[in-house]
Assembly symmetry: C2
Homo-oligomer: 412 residues x 2
């Protein structure tokens, strides 16, 4: 039997009634002849409640206990989904991570899946079970302790099961009906994409489009798992939602697939750094150790042996960055005049695999922003994206202008 | 190191603050030199919430899924208790049933513990862990599915661990401060007992005193586990609460240890049953099959080959009993004139191991009730108890009169 993986997020299983609605969608796929693996999140709000208990108990806690606690929400949903399917006369049972077992590393709270043996579940499919309901987000370490994959990890669980069981497709049911050219709240011209390439989705996911967890897209790309994002609150069909797939599957596409943005950026500038070989390592080594996710880096032209070094990082890491730089200065590892943080910036990016073969895309982006009078503070580019930092107050305007300039409201 | 088992019920771990209070009591015992096994229930209300989800989903549900769902509350508390102890610098970790593993039968929702291997936890004690926090109420079946022991099963978990680890004592922390001669809400002369024999506790537990689950007392008696019931909201000391122990440990005791009662009784009378050999089997066989828990049985003297047969059962089983009797009559298995249900009765019992060696205890009970003008409807006796059915409106009066007559307000 072909296997289909269906994943339902927290809002899709928030109540007993919503679980029933999700189960009906599973029933439709079973009727088509699929053996289905359903991955469920905790009812929305449950995981936050459990995390709240942990924070009230022990803010700097033993991650092994954290995992044992916060994983329990998914166990409840898995059992309820199995019962709901049984009520519909669909043979189903639940599996907790350790029962499969979903073997992970011991990196508690951010474990990585290492292996998913298929024999237990396949044996049950062989006995007539039609649906295996698996608690997402969790696994078991080599030591037999419960692990979790980090927030949003149920997407990763779903893709990993799709890879292990060689599923036809991995359908991610969520509260939006697909991937858009940009956030529809910023421009009503935003258009739902029918298909998007893994690489594009990966850039969009890591740039702040919160539809899919970045790791799940990486995993899907590596194992060529066809991933579909669709709404659990609308009619389902094989064409609904957005298919994330290899670029070979996409016949025609716009040069730019989408415009992404992120409000939570800060620009940090080290003024008058002594410029010498190894200075970059001396700056970014301590930042990495302090857990600062440095994104963009710009180094000005050096004058008289001194330069300005600018980088961006998430706004909530500014204090960590400042502390790390002050300590490095105190150790005489680096020498700078001042560290200036600009927390009123936002990042806007255009993404598209077509940028590989089309010249002038970045230039068109810069011209569009210039025509709107928006000053670009930092630029970075990769093969399939160009990102700029702008003043935060211009963010929406920049997104709208770029969406228009690249005619994203029109399908290819 | 000597081992102590401490069990905290749902009201004792209802909030993060209450868990902290309970953890302090654990810390006191660790400081005395004990290796402690803590058994926790779910936060009060949690299990009912989960059962509610199940009932909304599938009222006649797959008990395996029911168990997987309702066991999750204990996992949360176990993790939070372990974290709380760690915050107090007490080395602790949590164990879910399958991790120990607590091996049970496959009788889901009412599984029995078959074996608790001690090697995993003892190995951790050997490495310096001071407290193993175990999720109560749950285990794992030979098939690797999660099982539960039935409501109140955490008491049984606690006693089973105490037996397996040969603990010095099993302390059951609850919301009352011990076992009383009777319910203090019925008479303010009710006195807390310092000690009570297993046999007496067993009768009291099964007669409706809700302090301890019956099965846990049976298990404690069989394995000679010294069981102590005490309040989690009062100062602890080695003398607090009530010790449930072998009668040899009790030097002096009253003839009657306590007065128990149960409101939820019904008296059923089969009028004019054809009296013949095998008639009792023909009546009580079908009742047992219908799941009716028959308690007391009285058969009147037979006249002209017909007799009246009276039995008592829990009030919520009256309809099942009536159906079973009507069906047996329809099959011609039994023949009776009428079945009369009296649902306005209550059971009052006196319990005491002293009754074995003291004559006239039952007679004194009957005389006491007669003096209060209370009519006795049915009587049963065992070696250490005498129970009567009376009109429900006289129940409190009967309990008060018996408490006075046997001078239970005075210690032996």
């Amino acid at each position: 039997m072909p296997v289909l993986v269906m994943k339902f997020g927290g809002t899709s299983v928030a109540t007993v009634d919503k679980i029933k609605r999700a189960a009906k969608k599973v029933g439709v796929e079973v009727a088509k002849g699929y053996d289905v693996i359903v991955i469920v999140s905790a009812m929305s709000g449950e995981t936050n409640k459990l995390v709240g208990f942990v924070n009230d108990t022990s803010p700097m806690c033993d991650a092994r206990e954290y995992d044992a606690i916060v994983s329990s929400g998914e166990n409840v949903t898995a059992g309820l989904m199995a019962l709901t399917l049984q009520e519909m006369d669909v043979p189903a049972r639940s599996w907790q991570g350790w029962q499969v077992p979903v073997k992970t590393t011991s990196a508690h709270s951010s474990a990585r899946i290492e292996e998913i043996p298929t024999d237990n579940i396949n044996a049950k499919f062989g006995e007539g079970m039609k649906v295996a309901v698996v608690a997402g987000f969790q696994g078991v370490s080599p030591e037999g302790r419960i692990t979790t994959l980090g927030r949003g990890g149920s997407d990763t669980t779903a893709v990993a099961f799709a890879a292990a069981f060689e599923a036809d497709r991995c359908d991610i049911y969520t509260d939006v009906d697909g991937v858009y050219t940009t956030d529809p709240r910023v421009t009503d011209k935003a258009r739902k994409l029918d298909k998007i390439a893994f690489e594009e989705m990966l850039e969009l996911a890591s740039l702040g489009a919160k539809v899919l967890q970045t790791r799940s897209v990486e995993l899907a790309m590596r194992y060529k798992v066809r991933l579909r994002v669709l709404s659990s609150f609308e009619e389902q069909s094989d064409e609904a939602g957005t298919l994330v797939c290899a670029e070979e599957e996409i016949m025609e596409s716009n040069v730019v697939a989408g415009v992404a943005f992120s409000r939570d950026e800060a620009k940090m500038t080290l003024i008058s750094v002594a410029d010498r070989p190894g200075i970059a390592a001396a700056i970014f080594g301590p930042l990495a150790e302090a857990g600062v996710n440095v994104d963009m880096i710009v180094q000005n032209i050096s004058e008289e042996g001194r330069t300005d070094m600018t980088f961006s990082c998430p706004i909530d890491q500014v204090k960590h960055a400042q502390k790390a730089m002050d300590e490095a200065k105190a150790r005489d590892d680096i020498n700078f005049h001042d560290l200036v943080a600009d927390t009123d910036v936002a990042k806007v990016s255009i993404v598209g695999i077509g940028m590989r073969s089309h010249a002038g895309v970045a230039a068109k982006m810069f011209a569009t922003l210039r025509d709107e009078g928006i000053n670009i503070k930092v630029i970075t580019t990769s093969e399939i994206k160009t990102s700029v930092l702008v003043d935060r107050k211009y963010m929406e305007l920049a997104v709208q202008a770029l969406h228009d300039a690249f005619e994203l409201e029109k399908a290819a």
